[in-house]
Symmetry: D2
Subunit: 141 residues, 4 copies
């Protein structure tokens, strides 16, 4: 089965570091967001496209496992992989690699659900436009 993956290289912002001299741990969730954007640029189904169908897809769970730090001045890469889900959820796994050391810096995972824009009620089934997209890009489950 074809894996749905996107890669993005990026520099560390000085404002993202903390007084230990490394990227503040919470900023990895910004990198995960950048990873999802890169994924949408490559494969489609951006936040704005989802929103045009009157849905929000908020994060309901996120998890970060830190393996090694990233210092200011270092360059990194995030690999974002979609994990097929039978339930009406969008699941991504992430791997951040410190390109200056070639070490894995962090691994992570997020889960998003579908909320109807107006009522903010949870959608228990995948919306049709999303299933169509899954078929088009070849998500197998």
């Amino acid at each position: 089965m074809k894996e749905l993956i996107a890669e993005l290289e990026f520099d560390i912002r000085f404002s993202e570091t903390d007084a230990m001299g490394v990227v503040w741990h919470g900023n990895y969730l910004k990198y995960f967001e950048d990873g999802r954007e890169a994924f949408a640029k490559k494969h489609g189904m951006s936040y704005l496209e989802i929103h045009s169908h009157h849905y929000f897809v908020p994060i309901v769970k996120s998890e970060i496992n830190h393996k090694s730090p990233i210092y200011y001045g270092q360059r990194a890469k995030i690999i974002t992989k979609m994990i097929p889900s039978k339930a009406a959820k969008i699941i991504f796994e992430y791997e951040i690699i410190n390109l200056s050391t070639q070490l894995i810096s962090a691994k992570g995972r997020t889960i998003q659900v579908f909320l109807r824009e107006k009522s903010r009620e949870l959608e228990l089934q995948f919306p049709t436009f999303y299933l169509d997209w899954e078929k088009k890009v070849g998500v197998k489950k």
Copy 2:
């Protein structure tokens, strides 16, 4: 004339520091925002009240002058002062004091304007609800 002032004491968040070990300069704009919130708690006219009248008051100009750093673990105070304006603007001046050193850490200033919520058009005159509030709290211009 009575000065309209609010004071707020706060601790530095670790996530607000940078790799130089001090508060990252851009985070002072968060402290200015906290200062405006403290002002609204004391004197009224919060963002939500303004919004209930169908206006936004975005920042159109901000300025920070840094005098001395604040390190993690230090405590600070922000003094927020309203500057009366004849034009339809909300002007605040700020002073941030590092309570651990008693030194002034920064001085600043922001200017906000009134935008109509729906059209996002600039309001060239103070809205009536705002003039009423100015009269009530004693803004002299």
Copy 3:
């Protein structure tokens, strides 16, 4: 057994919201950090005290489960609980309650390890100063 807990009430910063009108999910890690600070204020063993013993305690794992959103203008409470650990780790669990709705907004968990300041090497045993503190405050494991 006595539970080691600290509670902190706080207002949402406007800068912490996103274009969905709610607190951006990544900012919950800032609240968890605020929770740990409140814990240290109540029970001791702050970052600075740990640092004075030449250790860093970076986050190696964090997890957030979002249950309901927090809107700008709402007030929240974070309950931070220390989970006793036999391995040389500091484990906290968090619960964030939206005080305006009385709903749980999020639950989470972080794990920290001990790194020697200079070498940045992992310490596999609890440092003595930390065990002394655990005894003093009554951590049972």
Copy 4:
């Protein structure tokens, strides 16, 4: 005289927006920082190079003038221009253009000074390594 300029195009991060649906005003200082990084990539004299000479160059003054908002999903460009200074200061001016509307979103200015790394004392004269760089890239004053 040759102008020292660098340009950088970038997408808006969702986490940079606020509940008004636009980029939170304080985040423009992150874009200014990105502009300085792009400048250093093109012309040299990065933070790390300055640091290798045992200096910090903290921001002592920053100013932002907001002209029009940037919404999530829009792309922007920052133009960073070095302003020659006779006093021992590094002065940059910035222009941020919303590429989706072709409108200027903001103009700004920052001033940095030279601090000796250890003593954190202000350096009143340009350090020699910096004057050499100015000569090399052709800063005229």
